[in-house]
Symmetry: C2
Subunit: 148 residues, 2 copies
DNA sequence: CGGACTTATTTAAACTGCTTATGCAATTCC
DNA sequence: GGAATTGCATAAGCAGTTTAAATAAGTCCG
């Protein structure tokens, strides 16, 4: 039943905290010239390796023609490359270039810097509690991926 | 020095987990017909009460004319109202309507539902660790607000 | 094998929502 | 009381979507 759950876990508060992180995190893209979608695509390609346009359409929240056009733009900026798919001559494999990977890497470092800065403002106990929850949070985030 | 920090706190992993949450959370707006900016404005107004356009411009990551136009759209949909500011006849106070508040509320419930569902897939130990870290996470999220 | 259907991508046209530039009215500052 | 400032609106333009339709390769039978 829901009762015992509520005792040790306040989903509302977690959702609110995550929402707050999201709202603040989302402002980061706005600074550099790259949109959220652009960064998300580069991020996905960096994590998962070369992908077809169709596969990207499934992971990003945009239509397939939008992916085609986005990839065309990114290709023009030298951030991704189109390669023929060996097993299907209709298909295209999109791969991040080194320049594209550098952008994602730079952003990751920026995030780490910001989080470190925040962590410095917490008490040691708070830091420990977050550190202890980190594996669970990471697993939860991964579970969320599959959550339709 | 940074050394002792790294021992009890992996900012990189936290940043990655939060990034995952963000990437998945951001897909929620895409389902309903409201954009991220729209929802962010409604959210802010719900939390902070009636605000001036200028104040909204500061919190959201868009220009002042964009806020004017957004508010005009939202007013047309009955989600916010414009009211004269008593102390300055140039200014406008934007307030969410009940309909606007319902949208934010519905989304919060949806988030809670999703997080509860995820929490159910964790072990009791994992849930406890997150629950224990929740106050620290909430404070961290709040600190992030001020982090320029 | 060959035609019908499906799948992967592109192209084209239209629309949404942002930006910059500008205007105008109310307020503030000597 | 005029000059500068502030708060918002309007206008024009552009970026990045969307839907609709085209092309080309692969699949599936009969």
């Amino acid at each position: 039943m829901a009762g015992h759950r509520a005792l040790d876990f306040d989903a509302d508060e977690l959702a609110s905290a995550i929402e707050e992180f999201t709202r603040n995190n989302i402002r980061l893209p706005a600074r550099d010239k790259y949109s959220f979608t652009t960064l998300s695509v580069l991020h996905t390609l960096t994590r998962k390796g070369p992908m077809r346009l169709t596969a990207l359409t499934a992971t990003e929240q945009i239509t397939q023609p939008a992916v085609t056009q986005l990839v065309t733009r990114l290709e023009g900026e030298g951030l991704v490359e189109r390669h023929p798919a060996p097993e299907d001559r209709r298909a295209v494999l999109v791969r991040v270039t080194d320049a594209g990977a550098r952008i994602i890497n730079g952003r990751r470092q920026e995030r780490v810097r910001r989080f470190t800065e925040l962590a410095d403002q917490l008490t040691p106990e708070e830091r420990h509690s977050i550190a202890a929850a980190l594996p669970a949070l990471t697993r939860m985030a991964a579970l969320m991926d599959g959550q339709v």
